[in-house]
Every structure is written in C-alpha cells, then in structure tokens.
C-alpha cells in the first residue's frame, strides 16, 4: 500500500492554511509603517541590505501579538523553519537565535507555496550548479542525491547541465551582494524542500486525507436527501436560550473545582508529583472508608452516585431498607444487556423477564402499564434495546424519588461524616531525592486471578 505523504498534483489543505497565515504575518512584518526596521548587515567584507537581527524579530512579535518572549521565539522559529526568514550567518541552520544574528526575508519567488511542488529537475539544476561552481562543495548527502538524480533523469541531463551553466553565467553578471543573497535564498529553499537526512521534514503532513476522491461518489441524491432529513429534524428541535445554558457551565465548574486535581491539587498529594500512590490507594473502587470528596460527589448527580461502585453499593443498602432494591437490580440487569455480548441477549432478557417483569416475579418492578405492555410485547423478539423504555422509567423513578431521600438519610450523612479527609503530605525537604516508584498489579492480572479462584471453587464444589 503506497502512502502519499506529499500531495500528488494538489496542495494539501492543511499546509495551505498555515502557509497563508504565515505569509500574512510576513507581509505585516514588512509593512512600511508598522513593520520591522531593516538595516544593512555586514557579512565578512560584503554589506547586505534589508537585514534584521533575531532579537528584532522577537521584539516585533512580542509587541504585535502580545506574547511572552518564549512564545515569540517559538513563533519566529517556525517562520525560519518554514523558510520565510533565513539566517545569514549560519545559513544551513534554520534556527532563530534571540541575539544579534542577522536574518533576511525570503523572496516570495522562493516561498515553498509559490513553487509547489519542488521539482526534481530544479533540484538537479541546483545541485549541478553547486557542483560546477566549486568542486567538492556538495555535501555527502547531496552527492548521493545528485548521482541518484543523474540515473533517474538521465535523458534530460544535458538540459540540466546547460541550465546550470546558464544560471551561473547570469549570476556572475550580478553585484556580489546580490549574488550572495540569491545563493542564500536558493539554499534556504532547498533546505526545506529537500531537507538533509536527520532533519525534520517540515512539509511532512503525515497521511494524506483522500477525502476528495470520495466526494464525487457520496454526494449523490441519497446523500442530500439524508441531509434534508437531518436539517428538518434539527429545525423541529427544542432549543434553550443561551443565557440559561451558559449558566450551566459556570455552575458545573464551580461545583467540581475542588475535585479537579489539575486546578486545585489533590490530597494527600498528586502521585505524579510526589511519586507516592497514596491518593490512588485511598480511592480504589472498593475501600473500607471512602474519602470525603468522593462521598460529596455522590450528591452532585444521580449519575455520579451510580458510576461509583461504592456509591452504588451504598445506594443499594438504602433501597433494601426501603424495600425498593428491585429497581436498582433491574436497572443493573438492563445495563448488562445493553453493553453485553450480542450472543447473550436472548438469555439475559429471559432472565430479566423471569426476575422482574413476570407476574409474581421475585423482584417485580413497578412500571406504568403502558410501558409494561410495550416492553412485554417487545421481549417476544428480544434485541439489545428492548428494555430501554422500562429501564429509563425506573432510572428516573429512582432519580426523582429514592435518590433525593437517600441524600437526606442518616445512611448518607453518616458516610459523609466518617469519610476520610487525607492529610496533605508535607513537601519533601530534599525535593531532589526521588521516592521509589512502585509498580502495581495489572488490571489484567487482577481479573485472571479472580477467574482462577472462581475456577478452583467451582472445581472443589
């Protein structure tokens, strides 16, 4: 399977966007009023006009985009890496130095976007020029590529050499300063479009997204009919005013702020910082005594309570007391059908009917007659979602009735009262002394052991 990492005949969408944005930046940098102040730069015995220092570039970026120095250095560095600005002092190193090192804007003629894609022929001519101009000027990797190209486009080699000679002759007639500049510009262009081995290929965008070839096939009348359906349904949707919805974000962030370790830290310490796994040990699925934050979270929403194995266990205890535990058992059984293997659906639905829905069932659930009728009819041809309506009915029943009462109950209040608030681990006096990081048993191991033990018991019994 061949992969096109360079677009064949079409410019990559992603590259186009970035290049356009960088070019806009470059144009702004050269604005006569708000752009950078350019000056002459001495390079050995030649004076190069319209140059700027690395420092200048960074200062300009800091002011223009209100960013810090590190970010300006990074952003400027990208402009250099993509060849919009090239260094005069160390031309082969496309790096932005935050000092007095001189740089120049690349001429649009040599922007990668202008001359896309870089042609093999042009590269051959460039290497030929270098070779002719100064014997031994080609680097090792350039020599290899030169001979490869020689083999590959042998039939046009005369043309290549002729062009190279012609370009060299023309350049001899230029002023020395112009000649140096042109050589620098051209070199910068090729460093990006044919990077040396081991250097980032800045033009690598990974796997080509071939969505264009799909387009003609999929944009048929069926596609648009589908779109029309989607839009019609969307138009019929109930929408909520922004002012109401957006308050929800504020409430949620506020409620969960203390529970967000990245924002507020965690107790006794963040394992990633302290190398102490106590925080994880205290918060495993089943612990003798849960932490206070954890128990608090059960009161945030019914879903939080059910998603926590301990919370669910506690809630079950409460429901047992209220003689309505069958609701939670039913809900769990429905979950297992929804998320379980396809092959087990029929038998599981059978089980649910026997235990929860059949008249006189041991854990009969109280569903309204309409839903019950619909469900009983549906389970004659069981499928994954056949119990959805019934499950939802029971879920909302628990949520609106049992859940709020649970939160007011002694059971919950006691749990909250005796919950642990871990002591914050004092920061180590010697922060550079690293604790040993202990490994933990893989979840895969835990399950295997459980099934092993199960097997042994079954064998014994």
């Amino acid at each position: 399977m061949t992969i096109n990492t360079m677009a064949k005949g079409g410019w990559q969408r992603e590259q186009t966007i970035c290049f356009r944005k960088m070019e806009k930046m470059i144009v702004a940098m050269q604005d006569p009023d708000m752009g950078m102040k350019l000056r002459n730069q001495r390079l050995l015995i030649t004076v190069i006009p319209h140059a700027m220092t690395g420092h200048d570039i960074i200062i300009w970026l800091i002011h223009k985009y209100s960013v810090c120095e590190e970010e300006a250095l990074h952003l400027g560095g990208m402009l250099v890496k993509y060849g919009y600005i090239y260094p005069l002092k160390e031309p082969r190193s496309l790096v932005l130095q935050p000092d007095e090192s001189p740089y120049r804007f690349q001429t649009p003629y040599f922007w990668t976007s202008t001359r896309w894609p870089a042609s093999e022929l042009d590269y051959a001519i460039y290497l030929a020029k270098k070779n002719i101009r100064k014997q031994g000027e080609l680097m090792e990797y350039e020599k290899e590529r030169y001979s490869l190209l020689h083999k590959k486009i042998n039939h046009t080699w005369d043309f290549v050499v002729m062009q190279a000679r012609e370009q060299l002759r023309a350049s001899k007639q230029r002023r020395k300063a112009d000649r140096i500049v042109l050589e620098c510009q051209e070199q910068a262009y090729w460093l990006i479009n044919r990077p040396p081995p081991g250097v980032h290929n800045m033009l690598d965008v990974g796997l080509e997204r071939q969505n264009n070839f799909n387009l003609r096939a999929t944009l048929n009348s069926d596609f648009y009919k589908n779109e029309i359906e989607v839009h019609r349904r969307a138009l019929g949707r109930n929408r909520v005013k922004s002012s109401i919805c957006l308050e929800g974000f504020l409430k949620y962030s506020e409620q969960y702020q203390n529970h967000d370790p990245i924002m507020q830290g965690c107790l006794p310490s963040n394992p990633w910082i302290s190398d102490d796994t106590a925080h994880w040990t205290m918060n495993t699925e089943m612990v003798p005594v849960p932490t206070r934050l954890r128990v608090e979270r059960w009161s945030f929403s019914f879903m939080e309570l059910l998603n926590d194995a301990m919370g669910r266990q506690e809630f079950m205890l409460y429901l047992e007391k209220e003689f309505s535990a069958e609701n939670l058992y039913f809900w769990q059984a429905c979950e297992e059908i929804r998320h379980g293997e396809s092959s087990k659906i029929v038998e599981k639905v059978e089980e649910v009917y026997k235990n929860f829905l059949a008249p006189g069932a041991a854990r009969w659930v109280n569903i309204d007659s309409k839903t019950m009728d619909k469900t009983l009819e549906g389970i004659k041809q069981p499928h994954r979602f056949v119990l959805d309506d019934a499950q939802m009915h029971i879920y909302f029943l628990m949520k609106k009735d049992s859940y709020p009462r649970y939160l007011k109950s002694d059971l919950y209040k006691n749990m909250l009262a005796k919950a642990i608030v871990p002591q914050e681990t004092k920061k180590s006096v010697f922060p550079f002394m690293r604790r040993q990081r202990h490994s933990s048993p893989s979840p895969a191991q835990a399950v295997a052991q459980a099934t092993e033990e199960e097997g042994r018991h079954k064998g014994a019994g």
Binding site: N214, E341, A444
Partner: protein, 377 residues
C-alpha cells in the same frame, strides 16, 4: 418544429429514472440533484437563523463574574521513550496510571506511565496505527489504522506469549481507521474511518451492530457522551462537520458546521451537555447541545497551526489543546482566554488525553515520545 419537440421530449424524459440508453448520453447537471442540494442548503440557512434567535449572550460575558485563573505552570513529569516513529494515538487505562500508545511504524505499546515501564508490545501488520483504545476492564486494547480494521488484543500476563496470537479482528472499514473507542464495556467498539462512516461493533462476534452515514468525507475522530441514558456520541470529519449520533437508530440528531477546516478531535464536556472540537483552522470551539449552537471559539492571532487533539480537565474549566506547532495551549473554557502555553515536544503533538481521575494529562508526539504533564503548585 421537429427539433424543438424532440428537445422538450428529451428534457421531460430526463426527469424520470434514466433508462439504459439514456445513461450513455451526455446528461447536463441532474436537475433532481441540483434541486436537492439547493433545498438542503436553504434548510441549513434557516436552521442557522433559528439557532441565532435564542443566542442572547456570549459565554465570556456570562463568565465575567467568575474569578480569573492565575498563572499556570505545568511541567512534564514523565517522558516515555520507546516508539521508533511518530506517536499517533494514546489512551488511558481506568486504573489511572497505565496507557496504551500506537505509532506510525505499527507498534502498539502498553506502559505503566507511573514507573515508565513497558508492559506489553504488539507489532501490527500495518503501518500508521492511528487509533488505539484501552478496554474498560483493563484486560485488552483495541487498535487499527491503514489496515482498515480495528482489532482487539487481550493483554496476556505471560510475558513470553505473543499477543498477536490471540488477536481478534472486530471492525472492517473500506478505508483507514481513524479512531476507536470501547463503549461502557469490553463488548462493544465504536469506530470512525476515512471511508466517511462510523460504526458500532459487537466484539465477540465481529458483527456490525449499527453504521452511521452522514459525513461527506473522512471521519477523523469520535467521543462517547457521558450522559445518563448513554446513547449518543459525536464525530468530527474532513467535511468540517461535527455530528451527534443516536447509537440505537443510527440517525444524526445534531450537526454543526462552523469550523473552516478539518476537525481533528472532538471531546465531550464532562457534564455531557456540550463538546469541544479542535481543527486545522487553528481554533478550538465549544458547542452547547441544548442551545444547539457554537458558544465559544478559542483562538489567538499568534496561533496559526492546526489543533490535533483536545481534552477537558476534570471540572471542565480548562481545555487542553495539542497543536501541530509542537505546543500545548491551555484555555480557560469560561472566559475564552489562553491561560498557558507549554513547550517540550520537538515535533507535532498528535494526541492528548487527561487521565481518568484528572491528576495529569498525557501527550503523544511525532517526536516519538509521550509526556505526562502536571500542574506544579
């Protein structure tokens, strides 16, 4: 005249299903198709109008009363080295410390990120493994890419056993696999593909349970909704659309098209009432599902490279974005401001996930490494 009659007769004929002879003739733009396209676009405009009517305030305005966030100093606490090529995807295990990662050279590695030990390694029969996911039980991983499939590997405890031996082929697409995710159990997997579709599969049998059609181009990402009824997911694609789907019916229930380029990543806000997206247009956006519209854009003039992946901190106050310019930008979701920029990777950040308990986040990069980041107090 004769010719005119023949012409009008021809036109009328073209409205009916093409007969075999007609198919070989030159047909001008199919009137039915053009008509449908116009109707679709008119409805889309009307939808935007309706959505705009209820938009009476911006998120950052509502958030004016909220306290601003201070300086965030985040550092790398673990660097995982071992991949020989670009890291393309990663996922956390529910145990909050293990991760699975996949790369361009076909390697899938399971790490204990806490100790940085490699625990398992698989070599896929294809390159560009763009998708990988950890099973909820922690006993298996799923992955796929250029092989157009999604395969499940049970994690063997025997170090000498070849994981590839127990491999199970689950999903089959007609183009590359871009993302995969287990649903609430190890038994079902949701996939997205370059073939423009998403699909839900039964792991045990490999059976296709539901397919999702509606994207006009490659689908690049997906995320499952953490909702009470747990039946929806969102996908993003090269058609610049983010679609919300009903897993039971296969229908697209909501669609958003405000990005200016490919959507590389989608992630639900923790409450499930909204989701964020990251795109090649260098912006992250927040879409509220109840308001049925985009409610925030996270962008800056100095950020010009695409976003490859996004995720929320546990409280949803922070949005982390991994970018193609090697950086991570941290956004204040409510105020819309950029709180921090993180440097460290030496090539594109291709994947980013916050850990299950929110204590850290992990990034994978084209520089062959993964990093675990935390906030230094």
């Amino acid at each position: 005249s004769c010719d005119f009659a023949a012409f009008t007769f021809g036109q009328k004929y073209m409205r009916s299903p093409l007969s075999p002879e007609m198919a070989t003739q030159e047909v001008p733009l199919n009137e039915t198709l053009a008509h449908l396209k116009t109707e679709s676009e008119t409805l889309k405009l009307k939808l935007e109008e309706e959505r705009a009517k209820l938009h009476d305030v911006e998120l950052h305005q509502v958030a004016e009363k909220v306290e601003g966030l201070g300086q965030f100093v985040m550092k790398t606490r673990r660097t995982l080295k071992g991949h020989g090529n670009k890291v393309l995807c990663m996922d956390w295990c529910k145990d909050k410390r293990r991760i699975v990662s996949s790369s361009q050279d076909g390697k899938v590695i399971v790490w204990d990120a806490f100790t940085t030990n490699k625990e398992h390694a698989v070599t896929m029969p294809c390159t560009w493994v763009m998708a990988c996911a950890y099973a909820p039980s922690g006993c298996a991983v799923a992955c796929g890419g250029l092989d157009n499939k999604c395969s499940v590997y049970p994690l063997s405890l025997d170090k000498n056993e070849n994981l590839a031996a127990k491999k199970k082929s689950v999903a089959m697409h007609t183009n590359y696999l871009s993302a995969c995710s287990f649903t609430n159990s190890d038994m079902q997997i949701l996939t997205s593909s370059g073939d423009g579709t998403c699909a839900l599969w039964d792991v045990e049998s490999g059976q296709l349970l539901q397919s999702f059609h509606g994207h006009a181009a490659d689908v690049l990402c997906l995320d499952l909704a953490p909702s009470e009824t747990g039946n929806t997911f969102v996908s993003g694609g090269c058609d610049k659309k983010a679609n919300v789907w009903d897993m039971r019916s296969g229908q697209c229930i909501q669609s958003f098209e405000t990005h200016e380029s490919d959507i590389n990543s989608v992630r639900y806000y923790p409450s499930g009432d909204a989701f964020a997206s990251g795109s090649d247009d260098a912006t992250c956006r927040l879409y509220d599902l109840r308001a049925d519209r985009e409610v925030a854009i996270y962008s800056k003039e100095s950020i010009i490279f695409g976003v490859s992946s996004v995720d929320f901190s546990l409280s949803g106050r922070l949005l982390f974005g991994g970018y193609n310019d090697y950086t991570i930008n941290v956004w204040d979701v409510l105020k819309g401001t950029r709180v921090s920029i993180l440097f460290g990777h030496e090539n594109r950040v291709s994947t980013l996930r916050v850990s299950p308990d929110g204590t850290a986040f992990c990034t994978g990069s084209w520089d062959h490494t993964l990093r675990v980041w935390i906030l230094m107090c």
